[in-house]
Symmetry: C2
Subunit: 288 residues, 2 copies
Amino acid sequence: MRNVTKDNITDVFKSYMAADMPPRTRELLEGLVEHMHDFAREKNLTHEEWRQGIAFLEGCAAIETEDRHEFVLASDVLGLSSLVDMLHSDPASTSSSVLGPFHVSGAPPLAVGGDMKHDFGGPILLAEGVIRDTDGNPIPNAEIDIWQTAPNGLYASQDDDQDTFSFHGVMKVGADGRYAFTTAKPAEYTVPSDGPVGAILNACGRHPWRPSHLHYIVKAEGFRTLVTEVFPEDDPYLDQDTVFGVRDDLVMRYVEKRADEFPDGMALSGKVQERFLHVNFDVTLAQD
Amino acid sequence: MRNVTKDNITDVFKSYMAADMPPRTRELLEGLVEHMHDFAREKNLTHEEWRQGIAFLEGCAAIETEDRHEFVLASDVLGLSSLVDMLHSDPASTSSSVLGPFHVSGAPPLAVGGDMKHDFGGPILLAEGVIRDTDGNPIPNAEIDIWQTAPNGLYASQDDDQDTFSFHGVMKVGADGRYAFTTAKPAEYTVPSDGPVGAILNACGRHPWRPSHLHYIVKAEGFRTLVTEVFPEDDPYLDQDTVFGVRDDLVMRYVEKRADEFPDGMALSGKVQERFLHVNFDVTLAQD
């Protein structure tokens, strides 16, 4: 194989691999290099374009910190993160969607009917639903981990004016599988666009916006854990989520209601304004 | 496009691009994302494997410095750097090969017949040849920028015991197009293998060795600049260069000669040992 050519280099790469290497590692590296080489051959990639690609990776490296995950963001805006989600989403369950970088472990417990809005402004949103199995039966004792932005479009970890677990809570549901909480309506927001990934969005004439959403991780014994997010149908960015997170079955509808329709026993009852928003969104978990 | 699926996400990505973006940028990003998505779909890439990929990039980022170019090294050992070289190598000229990270600008002039070996040990190598056009005519006043490892396998920039321009020189040839210099025989060496790229080589059961070589950049007015390297035919790593740099026409032959065959007028004449190595390697440049 001393005479490496543009036509045999992919095979030469494969010939360098040991016979006894782990089969899945071989499969992934072979596939990765086949696609990388085909890309370069098909597009006749120039030295200058190759240098721009290296400069992109080095630019991501320069900005990467514990709080700024530019490589993950690149995967997100190129659709790879969502594609991996969809490849492993169980068709029998509610669709999964991107975890994103803002989940924090150890959020405080939130009782069924509890409140995450506290004294934040904006409309009250009452979100509720039932966690069900694929036959439609409620799953008792399921757990739902909830997080979202404040009305200013910032997550707690991005915002010095919020406590660590502001708009984060973990709810254990009862025998009826029902979750319910009051909160502030989440806001649409932009992904970080001041780095190399922002430059790519810019070059494509793309915006950095995500539609507003609630994040859920739903768990129950004997069921597959579901990482997902739900989106209001009237969000202006619903059709162009910059990280490709929207699925038909994750679109929900906020219904405006009057204060006298507010259910008893909710933590915020005493503070309900003239109008509030209500959404009913059931979640289906597939068996493990 | 609100319902993004694993089958339409590549088209959704394309639909996000502005109509007036630069056509070549569009072509490259579309090709990149098509291959990235096809790779994930074909291999059914899992979340854990995706995380390993992100960890690889973050690991490269953590080790990247001005002197350690881990992303370039990744491109090198995956064959991408050599493939880009070959795609743009002129078939009428001597083949190009990888520039590598050890070229330094501003090396001192080296006269035709000059010496780069100085007091380093090991066999003397006398390298010479003629720089020709594609009709075989010598190119007067061509310039050849030469660099290589010391006999210990280290380039000057890697080795505290060498001066900045040790084993680096730039030669202007005369009307006969002939270059000639004495040097120490270069040594085979390993690419850096203590980082994430080394872990990939390891996983593949691959070694990090490159065959020994001389680097040349050859320039002449009216001709395409050639970046290349030449390899001795008896090097143990010739058939398995870890960065895929070897081409048939870049393989040369060291011939062992006796001291009394050493040509007059070479800078090292007075120091020639009983035996020396001789190589004749002509270089062909294509017109610009």
